[in-house]
């Protein structure tokens, strides 16, 4: 989403400092709301027995939408992970395409139904294919940025991972190489406090993972993932810094995980009910809605209209994706190696 320095003469003051118009603020809000509704639909379809598995990012949407909003579509790169529903939506994927991955149908642009849901990718969008081993993608984003620097393409790569994954060697090896060569890459840790069931207190030796940036000669920024505009500010600063050739940035967004790790996880086994209830207060969606209502960017009527549009889009995507064919097993041997055009 492009940003402008201009605000409408009759607009609110909310986005002025950030150069965001009311229209642009509403687009961020729409993407957060759309992502949440899509995510909830995925869980509903799982609980209804329609799909075997869901892994997603409820609670992460504010940070994902706001931080990836600064990227240039079709030019920059997004190297996502399995919670990046809102990020891939922001970077161009449609609800239909996301639900194709959920249903694992033949036209699924992420993998043609080969991968588990949540493993997004799309060459049309410069969204690199995702795997399941964690933190491997950090090196891919660094490599994309390395190529961008060598080829002088003016591209920025943005990648995301969880705080648990930031203990992996690939994360550190990637930051080191990015720091040495001042590569145009933004690494975003979405710290929701849990690596499946293990709390951050016994997975990480430090509380603020952004401090790890200091070891790799790059800024480390902590941002409240429930504060959408703070996330936008941090993301845009990092992306612009990368594009100016000043090097990488590590952003740590403190987010909350509103669901279990995946549809196969029962988080009440390791999280107290009070803690789960308290996390609701850190949900970025109602907080941003209140912010927009308070500033007069949004009113109840417009919100209801937007909600109806979102529901219609999700219903359409659900029905459409479900109706698509399964991949043909006769195609399952394809694409092991390059296939020259016939």
């Amino acid at each position: 989403m492009a940003t402008t320095e201009r605000t409408k003469a009759a607009g609110s003051r909310l986005g002025v400092d950030l150069g965001l118009s009311d229209r642009e603020l509403l687009e961020i809000y729409r993407l957060i709301a759309l992502s949440r509704a899509l995510d909830e639909r995925m869980w509903t379809l799982n609980r209804a027995g329609k799909v075997p598995f869901v892994i997603s990012g409820q609670g992460h949407e504010g940070a994902q939408v706001a931080i990836t909003s600064g990227l240039r579509h079709g030019h920059d790169w997004l190297v996502p992970y399995y919670r990046s529903v809102a990020a891939v939506l922001t970077f161009g994927m449609t609800p239909r395409e996301i639900l194709l991955a959920l249903y694992a149908r033949a036209p699924d642009p992420s993998s043609g139904g080969r991968q588990m849901p949540g493993h997004y990718g799309g060459s049309a969008y410069n969204i690199l294919s995702t795997s399941s081993p964690v933190a491997t993608q950090v090196l891919h984003a660094v490599g994309i940025a390395f190529a961008a620097k060598l080829r002088r393409t003016d591209q920025v790569a943005l990648t995301s991972l969880g705080e648990g994954s930031s203990n992996q060697g690939d994360f550190h090896e990637g930051l080191n190489f990015a720091g040495i060569h001042r590569l145009p890459v933004v690494i975003m840790i979405e710290n929701n406090g849990y690596a499946i069931s293990v709390p951050a207190s016994i997975e990480c030796a430090i509380e603020d993972l952004a401090e790890r940036a200091a070891g790799y000669a790059m800024p480390g920024v902590v941002v409240d993932g429930a504060d959408v505009l703070a996330c936008f500010r941090a993301g845009r600063a990092a992306i612009e810094r990368a594009r100016r050739g000043e090097g990488p940035t590590l952003i740590e967004a403190k987010v909350t995980r509103l669901t279990g790790h995946s549809s196969d996880d029962q988080q009440t086994k390791y999280r107290a009910p009070e803690e789960i209830a308290a996390q609701r207060a850190r949900d970025p969606l109602p907080r941003f809605r209140e912010e927009l209502l308070g500033a007069g960017v949004l009113d109840e009527e417009a919100d209801a209209r937007l909600g109806a549009e979102v529901r219609a889009a999700i219903d359409d995507a659900t029905d459409w994706a479900e109706a698509q064919p399964d991949p043909d097993p006769a195609t399952a041997r394809r694409h092991v190696y390059f296939e020259p055009e016939a």
Partner: protein, 327 residues
Amino acid sequence: MAVRTYIEAIRESLAEEMRRDASIVVLGEDVGRKGGVFLATDGLHAEFGADRVVDTPLTESMIVGVSIGAAANGIRPVAEIQFADFIFPAFNQIVSEAARMRYRSNGAFGCPITIRAPYGGGVHGALYHSQSVEAFFTHVPGLKVVIPSTPYDAKGLLKSAIRDEDPVLFFEHKKLYRSVRGEVPEGDYAVPLGRAQVTRDGSQVTIVAYGLMAHYALEAAELVAADGISAEVIDLRTLRPLDRETLLASVRKTGKCLIVHEDNKFGGYGAEIAAILAEEAFDYLDGPITRVAGPDVPGVPYNHALEDWFMVSPDKIAAGIRTLAAY
């Protein structure tokens, strides 16, 4: 034609490819000013500069992972792992990422990277500078595995590897680097991947080998020729994709097959060759498919007496041929 050593052929291949295609970048440990610990990249830094000949940190996973990302964004990386023994930190990137990128994206993304690594024993390298690691990778669909034995093949196969659209592991035997010379055409030629070569015609036993063992197999064939045994030698050159036609045609002719590799025997690459022959050439066999391979110990020991005990030699291969021929 010029006479080149094996390593000169590799260096020449790299330089010619980098001149031909500006998107090719060499990266690895000490590949820059030093030109690599074996000097495979000597002179490239001076000719192509630090942007295209990149000294990396001592982080093998990074070398491969960054190559994968760079390949997705228009660069054609040729990564060097300093010794095949140190490739394991990159195993996850090679096997989980590079090998699976095309399949998992249903053909949307490819991974055109070449990973060069010196391998093999007989060079006083002990456990961690002698390993043959090919079997770990030949197991994996999505990867190609190449092991040249001559300067001609080293140059021509490396060109094909670099031009290939898929990840290629290119293993170079350290002992061959300076011990083998051969004629290498000036200028451009490529040896296609996936084609074996019959390097000696024979009628009684087929010997299947690659790398240093392809040379030892020829020496062994010469030794047994004095006993009146006619051995055919196949240099596989590419382990995956395997040239089944050449293998099967030879074994159907001779009726006997001796497979030779330096890597230890259990679960080694030879087991797959043996299984293919058992499945597809059973009716033609006149003797047991036999392997001469490294012993099943965790590495090549350092002391010369121990190393000699470990290494497959022309004499050991000749003994295997004699036993099989007499069956």
